[in-house]
């Protein structure tokens, strides 16, 4: 009874637009009170305690720092230099500009931890250039939106940080390493339909006229940006920094590039950068904290085990369950961002994963792949929304292009399911 009340209240509140965190907090508090009706204060003292406990974890500190990194690099002019450099390598020709957009998005994914920031940085540079070169705006928006979704797979990634805070045994460095190979594969997989579509529909006719940037000049200008992922990922690998420290080193490195080298960030901009990234981090952290209340209510009511048992004994078998979970998450991913999905579903999915003895690092990569898919699946797609706004197109117009890109991502997901080593090889090799 209480359980169905909890879920019903939660789902209804979420659907009608109550903030996700608040829906979780209220449903959780109500369920705790109903379950402890005869104790002092209805057992509700657990509410503020779990709010604190949900937030008071050191690894979470990496979230505001990586959001800050994203915000700084978005304004630092790094994207433009990378685009020029990539253009100098691949040259000009049909399909080459969108290819560059994907490559640069992957590269920026190795610096920032947030997809929409990457979509904004790459979209701001690429979408206008692609329009001049004769690519339809809807196509450009689709490519940028999809490419930015790789961001949550390529380390550093905020979704991975949240996952590893929730799942004991999947450390942040292990998750970061595990996302690397699938992330690069997704990038390459997106390039195939992109170039093919561009050639087939005769897009980019004017690309030749743009001229090829000189190789050595653009390499020199891009070198500061090229060094950033080396510093972040290499520094973590070498054991110089924890993920949080790597983020903060990247913050100061990005400020140095932006303020001293490229001179794109003024002292005045620091206020906006700090405020924007602080608010965005808080939005994520508040959901994390309130999800702690929800998770506590689930565990005191002991509802997770029966549901997990029902899923496990549904007779679908291991792969049937996995397929169903992924379909569910793709669907949910169309409405919700990755962090919220993890906070809601991981408490439920963890026992299932443990029953089938799935590797939790691999499982995390799979979940993230599905969430990435949701992030550019219309009608509600966080990254696509950003790139559509920059391109000035409605999201419906992108559907005919986005479907191809989704198919590419789907192929990679299937490969990771069939060959778990794609995710697990690198973390084992690095000894995490």
């Amino acid at each position: 009874m209480i359980v169905s009340f909890l879920f019903l209240a939660f789902i209804v509140m979420m659907l009608i637009g109550v903030p996700i965190g608040v829906a979780m907090g209220l449903a959780g508090s109500a369920a705790i009170a109903l379950a402890n009706a005869d104790t002092q204060w209805f057992g509700l003292m657990a509410v503020p305690q779990n709010f604190f406990a949900g937030l008071g974890k050191y690894p979470l500190l990496a979230i505001p720092m990586f959001v800050l990194v994203g915000s700084i690099f978005e304004r630092s002019g790094v994207a433009l230099r990378l685009v020029n450099f990539a253009g100098a390598i691949v040259g000009r020709g049909p399909g080459m500009l969108p290819l560059v957009a994907i490559a640069v998005a992957m590269f920026l994914g190795g610096i920032s931890g947030s997809g929409p920031a990457t979509a904004a940085a790459v979209g701001g540079v690429m979408i206008a250039a692609m329009a001049r070169a004769g690519y339809p705006a809807a196509f450009s928006a689709s490519v940028v939106g999809a490419a930015a979704s790789i961001d949550i797979l390529i380390p550093p990634s905020i979704a991975f940080i949240v996952y590893s805070v929730m799942v004991p045994g999947a450390s942040v460095p292990a998750m970061f390493a595990a996302g690397m190979v699938p992330g690069i594969m997704v990038g390459l997989a997106l390039m195939v339909p992109t170039v093919w579509l561009a050639r087939r529909h005769g897009m980019g006719k004017h690309e030749q006229e743009l001229g090829r940037p000189p190789f050595w000049t653009s390499l020199r200008e891009a070198s500061w940006a090229l060094a950033a992922p080396v510093l972040i990922l290499g520094g973590m690998r070498a054991g110089w920094f924890t993920p949080t420290e790597a983020a903060v080193v990247a913050v100061f490195y990005g400020l140095f590039i932006g303020m001293v080298i490229y001179r794109t960030i003024k002292v005045r901009d620091l206020f906006v950068i700090l405020r924007e990234s602080g608010e965005l981090s808080a939005i994520i952290l508040v959901v994390v904290a309130l999800a702690g209340i929800f998770a506590y209510s689930l565990s005191t009511l002991s509802v997770i085990d029966p549901i997990a048992r029902a899923i496990v004994h549904s007779g679908l078998g291991e792969f049937g369950v996995l397929a169903l979970l992924m379909l569910l998450l793709i669907f949910v991913g169309m409405f919700l961002d990755g962090v919220s999905i993890f906070l809601i579903f991981i408490p439920l999915l963890l026992p299932v994963a443990k029953f089938f003895q799935w590797d939790l690092v691999w499982f995390g990569v799979l979940l993230t792949l599905t969430v990435a898919m949701g992030q550019f699946t219309p009608p509600i797609a966080v990254n696509l929304m950003v790139s559509c706004r920059i391109a000035g197109v409605r999201m419906e117009e992108t559907v005919r292009w986005v479907l191809w890109l989704l198919a590419a991502l789907m192929c990679v997901t299937l490969l990771v399911i069939v060959f778990p080593e794609l995710a697990l090889w690198l973390p084992r090799r690095l000894g995490y």
């Binding site: 509140m13 979420m14 659907l15 009608i16 637009g17 109550v18 903030p19 996700i20 965190g21 608040v22 829906a23 907090g25 209220l26 508090s29 509700l44 003292m45 509410v47 503020p48 305690q49 709010f51 604190f52 937030l55 008071g56 974890k57 050191y58 500190l61 505001p64 720092m65 915000s71 947030s114 929409p116 920031a117 979509a119 904004a120 110089w240 920094f241 420290e245 903060v248 080193v249 913050v251 100061f252 700090l274 405020r275 990234s277 602080g278 608010e279 981090s281 808080a282 939005i283 994520i284 952290l285 508040v286 959901v287 919700l336 961002d337 509600i380 966080v382 929304m385 950003v386 706004r389």
Partner: protein, 172 residues
Amino acid sequence: MTDSSPEELAAANPAAQDEKTVVPLKIEDWLTVIVMALLALITFANVLVRYFTSQSFAWTEEISVFLMIVLALVAGSAAVARNRNIRIEYFAENGSPARQRALARFGALMVFVLFVLMAILSSRMVYDDIRYGETSPGIGVPAWWYSIWLPIMSVAIAGRALGLYIRRGRRA
């Protein structure tokens, strides 16, 4: 009311105009900027100190985590006023303007209810912290130095939610 997802707004439209509020949002904004800057500086100092002296301040961890909680509450308060929390917009932003307004008000009201509840319960938690003389695990300072901010900021967030509720009712 074309509020989109918070991340998107932050990324694509940093100069979005704020609605007028009775209590200026500058308060939260300045606190946010200060706390973010402090977090970055403390963590960076920690890296430098460890690099040069191969010692680390374990105690900075407790302060950093505390500052992060403050950040979540303070900037979260501004996010409530700007109505930028993560939500499913699909149903809330379709349908007649009257329905949209009603749902927006309901959302704000729920934020208000939750944080009033949080303010009451966490005041009791602070009272317990003081009464039993709890100390923090890392540095050993009184625990209420940290926990006192939860009721204070909960009241602030509830106030922001109330403000949003009133503003959403006013706009035709």
